[in-house]
């Protein structure tokens, strides 16, 4: 998100793509500092968050091979860097940003509040685009 209101058509959108509890997610890798394997350490750390809690899953989904994402700060000093536990990624690759659609108006208030800002339909899957810097971590 370099200049507001302008889309750099040259820059491709590289997404870290993973599944969690039946839903597909995509995170812009520009938001990520690091990714590592999670082995259960740091349960008590207050900068460590589980994604399913942040997104408001009713029942905790299974994590087959959890990973830790280190999220960069957003440069506006509103957000400190933190770590997010996600499911092991399916893929990290470029996606065609022109295929992205906005979240439907009925759901926009609910979903935007949790950092889900768009949908990328992809051959039977709908990738929910997640802005980690707008996650509601208070959950």
């Amino acid at each position: 998100m370099s200049a507001p209101g302008a889309v750099d058509q040259q820059r491709p959108l590289t997404l870290l793509h993973f599944f969690l509890g039946g839903a597909a997610f995509g995170v812009d890798i520009e938001q990520l500092a690091a990714i590592g394997v999670y082995r259960g350490e740091g349960e008590e750390d207050d900068d460590l968050y589980w994604l399913h809690r942040a997104l408001g899953y009713e029942t905790p989904p299974p994590y087959r091979a959890p990973r830790i994402l280190s999220i960069k700060d957003n440069g506006a000093s509103e957000l400190k860097p933190y770590r997010l536990i996600i499911e092991a990624p399916e893929d990290v690759r470029d996606f065609d940003w022109r295929q992205i659609r906005p979240v439907p108006p009925l759901l926009a208030p609910r979903l935007n509040a949790r950092g889900l800002w768009g949908v990328l339909p992809l051959a039977g899957t709908m990738i929910l685009l997640l802005d980690c810097q707008r996650l509601n971590l208070s959950m």
């Binding site: 839903a23 899953y57 659609r101 439907p104 759901l107 208030p109 979903l111 949908v119 709908m126």
Partner: protein, 178 residues
């Protein structure tokens, strides 16, 4: 409203002429009645074992059944997103409010509602018909309905197959809004 003059010099008009003129009169009368009587397009559907209807003007399109992509953090009556020729739409499971037996969501038709800025798919099990109903036929709801349903009801009418409960999508929109 002119008479058809075939032979001006003849006496009383021949029977064929009289018949044709009568037919013409009836035709015109019928058209006036038609024009006077407002007819409303209704989308009659089945959900939870009962027959309901939406105003046709509120429905953009009826969609074939498809997979609904579940999205986290939404209430039970918002099952997720659907793909409509590349566009992403939300889906409301109206059966949550109507009650009754619920068939598999992936097998249900979806009525794409678009009225007064409210836009969403609405899960209907099966669309029976799209018909014109005269305005006069729509009566206020008399039949006993659950409270949750009453909030959405605009009225009811009869058709050859029985009673149809008319639902107001604007009220539904209000119910599901945050």
């Amino acid at each position: 409203m002119g008479k058809i003059e075939m032979n001006p010099a003849a006496g009383p008009p021949p029977r064929s002429e009289a018949i044709l003129n009568e037919i013409k009169r009836r035709d015109e009368r019928h058209r006036i009645i038609e024009v006077d009587e407002e007819r409303l397009k209704m989308v009659i559907f089945r959900a939870g074992g009962r027959r309901y209807a939406f105003y046709g003007r509120d429905i953009r399109e009826i969609l074939t059944p498809r997979e609904i992509a579940w999205t986290p953090g939404l209430p039970e009556y918002l099952p997720g997103l659907i793909n409509v020729r590349g566009d992403i739409e939300s889906v409301i499971d109206i059966r949550f409010f109507l009650g009754g037996e619920r068939a598999d969501a992936a097998q249900c038709y979806i009525a794409l509602a678009d009225c007064n800025g409210f836009r969403s798919g609405v899960l209907v099990e099966e669309v029976e018909d799209v018909v014109d109903i005269p305005l006069s036929a729509v009566q206020p709801a008399l039949s006993t309905l659950p409270e949750a349903v009453r909030e959405l009801v605009a009225g009811e009418f009869e058709d050859p197959q029985g009673l149809v409960v008319l639902l107001d999508l604007t009220r539904l929109a209000a119910k599901v809004a945050v």
